[in-house]
C-alpha cells in the first residue's frame, strides 16, 4: 500500500540531508547534486503516486476521507499529548504535489545555476532539509507537530538566505528573515498553548483525536462542550494569535519586511522557498485550521480579509516602482499570497444559515487553487529571473532591456507566466484569480472591486517588468561588453515544464469553468471534501479579463518602446510618490525606528540597566562580601600555635565567666 510508504516522503530528504551534510564536502559537486536530485525524484514519484491513489480512491458519502497512516504519541502530558504522524487529506496531498514538483524543478535548475559555486554540496544539503521540513509541515497531524516543522522551515530558510555568507547583505537579510519570522512565531506558539490549555487538544478540529488508521472526516460536528467551557473568546483569540504567526511566515503587512530582503539568497532558493512553498505556509495554516475558524471564529475572519486586502494593495503599489527584478517578483509574491489570504477570509458560512454553502466553499477552494497555480507560475518567473541574472550578472532592470533576441526560451516562459499572473483566460492564473474575485464579490462588493483593482495593478507591474527585461531600451554598452546568452539546458527544462503546467492547467480549467466540466481543481480540493464544480461568473470573468487586458495595454504603451516618455513624465510629475514607493513606503525605516528608537531605547535599555546593575549588582555584592570576609579572617590563621593557645584560653575563660554569671 502506498500510504504505508508515505513515511519515506519524510525520511528520504532527511537521509539525503544527513549524507550531504556530513559527507558532502568530500564529494564531487556532481555526485552531491545527483544524490539530492535523485532522492527528490523519488519523493516526487512517491508524492504523485500517493496523490493518484488518494484522489482515485472512493469517496465516502461524496467526501474524501482523511487518512492517517501513522500517528503515535510522542509526549503524553496528562490529557494533552503531543503526537507525531502523517495525515493525508485533500490539501496536504495537493501541497505534496506542489512542493515536490517545484522542489524537483529547483534541484534540476540548480545544477546549472549553482554550477561551480563554492559550497555546492552544502546548498543541496540545505535544499533537502528544507524539503523535508516543508513536507513535514503539510503532513502534520496536529498543530504542535506543524509548529515544529514550521520552525525547521524557518531555519532552512535562514540557512539558504545566508548561503553567500561572506557577503554582508546576505547575512543581514538572513538574520532579518529569521528574527521577523521568529517574532511572529512567538504569537503562533502562544496561540497553540492557549488553544491546547483550554481545549485539551492540539488537533486541527474538535472532531476528536485522530485514531491510527481510521482518520476523521473534515467538518464533523465537534465537541462543542469543550469550546463552551473554554469561553467564547478563547478560540478566536488563539486562532488570531496563530494567524499572526502565519502572517509572519506569509509576509503579510506589517510583517512583510523580511521577504524582499530574502532575495539576497540564490535565485532558485527564492523560487522554492520565498515564492512557491514556505511563504504559503501561513495560507496553508489557515486552511488547516479552517474548521475551527469557520465554526468558532467567523468574526475574526474579517481580520484575515482586511490584512490581506491591505497587503495586496500595498505590495502591488510598491512592485510598480522597484527596479531590482527579484524585488518586483518578491512584492508580487506578497501581493498574491495576500490574494489567497483574502480568499480564505471571505469564505464565511453563507448568509442563508447553511453550515457550508457554495459561497464558503468557493473562497476556500479558490485560495487553495491560487496557491497551486501561483506556486507553478511564480516558481517559473523566479527561475526565469535566475536565467536572466545568470546572463547579465545583475538584478537591475537598467542593465537589461531587449533581451528577447538573446534568450528566446526564457522570454517565452516568462511571458506565459506573466500572462498567467495577469489573469488572462487560458492561463492558470485566470481561473484561480477569477474564483477569488467572485468569492470576494459574494462577500462584499467593496472587497470585490478593490481586489479587481489590485488584479489590474498586478497585470500592470508584471508587464512593466516583462517589457523592462525583454523589450524597452537595450543597454547596448553593457551587452556589448558581455553578450547575454540563453541559459543551459538544465536551467531551461524546468522553465519549460513549469510553463507547460501553467498553460495546461490554465487551458483545462478555463474550458472546464466556462463549460461546466467536472474534473477541475474543485473536484479534488474543496472545503467540505466534496466534488465542487467550478462555474465562472461570466460577468465577473469578462470584467476582470477586460481590466487585465487594458492594464497590459497600458503597460505596453508606456514601457514597450525604445524610449519611454510617459514613464519619464510620470516620474517627473510625482517624484515624491515614486520615491516613497521605491522605498517601500518607508516600512523598513518605520520598523527600524520602532525597534531601535522606541523598543531598544525605552524598554530594552532600562531592562538591561536593571539587569546589569540591580540583579548582577546584588550577586556581585554577595560575592564581594564573602571574598572580603575571607580576606579579613585569613590573617587569624597565623600558624603560630602559642597564639592559638592564647585565643583558646581566653575563650575558655570568657565562656566560664559567662556561665558563672548566668
Amino acid at each position: 500500500m502506498i500510504y504505508e510508504l508515505s513515511f519515506l516522503i519524510l525520511l528520504l530528504p532527511l537521509l539525503s540531508f544527513i549524507v550531504l551534510g556530513l559527507a558532502g564536502m568530500k564529494m564531487q559537486h556532481k555526485t552531491a547534486g545527483l544524490i539530492g536530485t535523485c532522492s527528490l525524484g523519488l519523493i516526487t514519484i512517491l508524492s504523485y503516486w500517493t496523490a493518484f491513489e488518494y484522489f482515485t480512491a472512493d469517496r465516502v458519502n461524496g467526501i474524501y476521507q482523511t487518512i492517517v497512516p501513522y500517528n503515535f504519541t510522542w509526549l503524553p502530558l496528562g490529557n494533552l499529548h503531543f503526537d507525531m504522524g502523517i495525515l493525508l487529506d485533500p490539501i496536504s496531498v495537493m501541497m505534496l504535489i506542489v512542493i515536490s514538483t517545484v522542489s524537483f524543478m529547483v534541484h534540476i535548475y540548480s545544477f546549472g545555476y549553482m554550477h561551480g559555486e563554492k559550497g555546492f554540496q552544502r546548498y543541496y544539503a540545505f535544499l533537502s532539509l528544507f524539503t523535508m521540513s516543508m513536507l513535514g509541515l503539510v503532513l502534520a497531524t496536529n498543530i504542535f507537530q506543524m509548529y515544529m516543522f514550521w520552525e525547521l522551515v524557518g531555519v532552512s530558510s535562514y540557512l539558504l538566505i545566508g548561503f553567500y555568507y561572506p557577503l554582508k547583505p546576505a547575512i543581514a537579510a538572513s538574520k532579518k528573515a529569521f528574527i521577523v519570522t521568529r517574532f511572529a512565531d512567538m504569537f503562533f506558539l502562544v496561540g497553540i498553548l492557549t488553544f491546547g490549555y483550554f481545549t485539551d487538544s492540539f488537533s486541527f478540529s474538535f472532531a476528536g483525536d485522530i485514531v491510527m488508521g481510521q482518520g476523521t472526516t473534515p467538518f464533523i460536528e465537534g465537541n462543542m462542550s469543550k469550546a463552551v467551557a473554554a469561553g467564547a473568546c478563547i478560540i478566536p483569540t488563539a486562532l488570531t494569535l496563530m494567524f499572526i504567526g502565519g502572517a509572519g511566515k506569509s509576509a503579510m503587512f506589517p510583517l512583510h519586511i523580511w521577504l524582499p530582503d530574502a532575495m539576497e539568497g540564490p535565485t532558485p532558493v527564492s523560487a522554492l522557498i520565498h515564492a512557491a512553498t514556505m511563504v504559503v505556509a501561513g495560507v496553508f495554516q489557515i486552511a488547516r485550521m479552517f474548521p475551527l475558524w469557520i465554526q468558532y471564529a467567523p468574526e475574526a475572519m474579517s481580520i484575515v480579509v482586511w490584512v490581506g486586502v491591505f497587503t495586496a494593495f500595498y505590495a502591488a503599489a510598491v512592485a510598480c516602482a522597484q527596479s531590482d527584478i527579484k524585488r518586483v517578483l518578491a512584492f508580487s509574491t506578497i501581493s498574491q499570497i495576500a490574494f489567497m489570504m483574502v480568499a480564505l477570509g471571505v469564505s464565511l458560512p453563507g448568509h442563508h444559515g447553511a453550515f457550508l454553502d457554495n459561497h464558503a466553499q468557493l473562497g476556500y477552494m479558490a485560495g487553495m487553487f491560487h496557491l497551486f497555480t501561483h506556486a507553478m507560475f511564480k516558481a517559473c518567473l523566479f527561475l526565469g529571473a535566475g536565467c536572466i541574472i545568470h546572463a547579465v550578472h545583475s538584478n537591475e532592470m537598467a542593465l537589461m532591456g531587449g533581451l528577447r533576441k538573446y534568450m528566446p526560451i526564457t522570454n517565452a516562459t516568462f511571458l506565459i507566466s506573466c500572462l498567467a499572473i495577469a489573469g488572462i483566460p487560458f492561463f492558470s492564473g485566470f481561473s484561480s484569480k477569477d474564483e477569488i474575485i467572485t468569492a470576494c464579490f459574494a462577500y462584499s462588493p467593496v472587497v470585490g472591486w478593490i481586489m479587481t483593482g489590485i488584479a489590474a495593478m498586478t497585470a500592470f507591474y508584471m508587464f512593466r517588468l516583462y517589457y523592462g527585461i525583454f523589450w524597452g531600451t537595450e543597454n547596448v554598452e553593457a551587452h556589448e561588453h558581455h553578450t547575454p546568452h540563453e541559459a543551459p539546458l538544465t536551467m531551461t527544462i524546468p522553465l519549460i515544464v513549469l510553463s507547460v503546467i501553467t498553460l495546461g492547467v490554465g487551458i483545462y480549467t478555463t474550458l472546464a469553468g466556462f463549460l461546466g466540466w467536472g474534473g477541475s481543481f474543485g473536484s479534488f480540493v474543496s472545503a467540505a471534501g466534496t466534488d465542487y464544480t467550478i462555474h465562472f461568473d461570466t460577468q465577473i470573468a469578462a470584467t476582470s479579463t477586460i481590466i487585465a487586458i487594458l492594464s497590459i495595454c497600458l503597460a505596453t504603451y508606456i514601457y514597450k518602446g525604445e524610449s519611454q516618455p510617459i514613464a519619464d513624465r510620470l516620474y517627473k510629475t510625482f517624484p515624491k510618490l515614486h520615491r516613497a514607493a521605491y522605498k517601500r513606503f518607508y516600512q523598513d525605516e518605520i520598523w527600524q525606528f520602532v525597534t531601535h528608537r522606541i523598543i531598544f531605547r525605552c524598554i530594552s535599555t532600562p531592562i538591561a540597566w536593571f539587569d546589569r546593575h540591580v540583579v548582577d549588582g546584588t550577586f556581585n555584592f554577595m560575592a564581594w562580601g564573602a571574598n572580603e570576609g575571607g580576606e579579613s579572617l585569613r590573617s587569624w590563621q597565623s600558624g603560630d600555635v602559642r597564639q592559638y593557645a592564647v585565643w583558646f584560653i581566653t575563650g575558655s575563660v570568657a565562656l566560664t565567666l559567662i556561665l558563672l554569671c548566668i
Partner: protein, 102 residues
C-alpha cells in the same frame, strides 16, 4: 593535717604555671611538659575534692588514674609527633612549623 585550701592553691599554681609555660615556651618538649603540668593540676583537684566532698566515694580517684593513663598515651603521641617534626624541620622550635599558615 594539711588544710584543703593548700591543695587548691597548689593546683591553681600548677595550672597557671603550665598555661604560662605553654604560651611562652617555643620548645616543643617544654610545651609538652607544660601540658603535663596542667593535667597534674587537674589531677590534684580531682583527688582533693573527692576527699573533701565524698570521703567514702572513690570516683575522683578513679578519674585521676584515668587522666594519668590518658596523659601517658598523649605524651607518647606527642613525642612521636615532635620526633617527626624534628626530622622534617630539623628544629624543635614551634615557630618553624608554619606551613599551614593562611
Amino acid at each position: 593535717m594539711v588544710p584543703v585550701e593548700c591543695y587548691f592553691v597548689l593546683s591553681a599554681l600548677l595550672f597557671f604555671i603550665g598555661v604560662y609555660g605553654f604560651v611562652t615556651r617555643r620548645n616543643l618538649i617544654a610545651m609538652l611538659i607544660s601540658v603535663e603540668l596542667v593535667l597534674n593540676a587537674v589531677d590534684i583537684n580531682f583527688a582533693a575534692i573527692n576527699r573533701l566532698l565524698y570521703p567514702n566515694g572513690m570516683e575522683g580517684m578513679f578519674m585521676t588514674l584515668f587522666v594519668i593513663g590518658v596523659a601517658a598515651a598523649e605524651s607518647a603521641v606527642a613525642i612521636a609527633i615532635i620526633i617527626n617534626v624534628y626530622r622534617n624541620f630539623h628544629s624543635d622550635n614551634v615557630d618553624s612549623i608554619t606551613n599551614l599558615k593562611g
